[in-house]
Amino acid sequence: MNKRILILITLLGGFMFSCTEESNPAFDTNNFTSIFDNSKFDASYFPIDIRQTPDGGYLVLGGRKLTNSNFTGIYLLKADKFGKFVTEIEVEESSVNPIAKFAAYQDKYYFFCMDAVTQEAQLVDVDADLSAVNITPVEGGLTYPAASSFEGDEFVLLSYNNGSKESVISLVSVSGALQISKGYSIGTGEDIEEPIINHFIRTGRQYPFEVGRVAGSSLYYFNGFYNYTFSLVFTNITSDDPIGVVQGQQDDGGFSAVTSLGGSKFATSRFNFGDNYLLPNKDLSTSGNTSSTDLGGYSLPEMVENAEVKILRASIDNKNVLIYGTDTKTKQIGLLFYDEAAGTFISSRYLGFSNPFEIASLTQTADGGLAVCGTTYLAGRFPRICIFKLSKDKLAENVN
């Protein structure tokens, strides 16, 4: 009898202790939401791009409102692997208008900005701890940098030359040396330039400028103004004329995001007079003239007009997927998962509630999770940077 009672008590005791909830640092790094707040009423911060650092933390490249300039100041933030604030840098106002992408190369992180007085492009590098910021002028007098990407060991830079009224695509080394450059006319007349300048001083619409290289090819592309329209232009950066152009509808239609999947395959999204269309796996003609309005695509009425779209190629649970991040009319960040090979819709996930949230950037983390960086408006009005970290398991739920 006593033995039985002893066994019962032991079993009961074992049950009590075995089922308790223990703190687990892995859970804290797998999933978190962080909003980086500044108590200044007049402060305004917005993220541009995010990179994970080798220590598991995050570097955020952002912009900040300047009181004495029409341009945007540079803001850099470091968060640890738990999403906690570590440090920040407000770069001096002599350098302004930081642009994506925030590129990692060797042990440094690079981005382009411009000189506040001359509007000439500058290359900035920082280390993973944000211990120092080095600013190097880019050779060749490139002005108004609009977008960049890092291909191999050099940058592809899209800039705007307001003297010759050209969209300029260039290759720039990590030391800031200009390798090659080619300009393409946006057309003539002040009307065509006005939205571009308004983009740079953020008094008008923010255009989805992009630049990159076609995967597995020596062909480059930029998404910008060419011949009076917002177009996707293919070039080898040597020919005077583009090799191919997918035209938009002046500045009312065009691509809102472009990611090369290799060859003529692209994951893209496009806007057309406010409507949005997603094209997860589309063959685009990289030569000749075509029109983006003929491409069709999945229309998503839940997206805001001319929505910002970010596309990330990711491997989740051994599946190659495309994650589209966008802004919804419910003021949330919408994540749409598509099968990369088939271009078929898999599932969706929405982030944020109550306060408005807007997408800025997505990056897959070393643990197989996803970091989503965006802007939220605390108290409905103060723009602040936020990071959502989603675990590998949560992403697996989305693709299975």
Partner: protein, 298 residues
Amino acid sequence: MKRLSLLLLCCLIITAGVAQEKKRKKPASPAYKEKKAKEDAKFLNKQWWLGLKAGPNWSKVGVEKSYSVIAPTNYEFDHIAKQYKNYDLVGSQATLEVTFYFKGFSFSFQPTYQHSRFLYTNSYEWTSDIETTNHVELDFEQEQKVDHAIIPLIVKYDIMGNKIRPYVQIGVYSAMLINASKSVSVKGIDNAAGGVNEFTEETINLGAKDLFAKNHWGLMGGVGLNYNLGNNVRLNFDVLYRHGMSNIVSTKNRYDSDRLSGVGDVMDDLTLDNLNISIGCLFPLRFLSSGFKTLDLK
């Protein structure tokens, strides 16, 4: 459930009352009385008791590790830290008691349904260096309601007495989560609108079962009093303090609620303490005769 418990309680009281109505036996001889007293004393060394009790409780939480969605960049975290209001809200509990009494000690099994409530507040402030009247303040109040099934094992010791029997008790318990909900209310003052604009936002109510741990355990101790009514019924007054020993919050699902994260709320790692006060009735389960007659020491 409440009605069924009440009905059961009434039946037990009536049964006990009826047993007392049995007519008294004629006086017995002294030898018989002595023998009977010995037998009674031996009988009274063991008894099973069954009863029900219920009452209010007040909760206190202990913060094991603090978490926040909001990460301040130019001010100290203390400014927005959660302020827990302990023993502020009244919860309730209902307990079924099964107790085995043996020579002054009782071994009690008291499965309990416990509804706990606790509250915390925090506030945020934005001020302008340029225009001093530009000032916004938001005050958040988060209330948690958590229901647990508590499975305790308790040892009691009757200190003294017969009619009035005070006791002390200690034990250990395991708690299983049944349900949980949260509500977040936001009030604010906006001085930037040209005047003092006091506003209240719509309260966010949501189920929060996933945010809490499925199980936790703790230790318990307390005092109580049994009052023998003389008709096989004991009234019970019980004061019990449960001290949580493990985290009541789900570490894995902490950030799972976008609705809460969106307003900057996330649960800390917490232990839950409860001060329970209960009153109820206990009935003996061992009887001397078929007439449901049991003994009380004179």
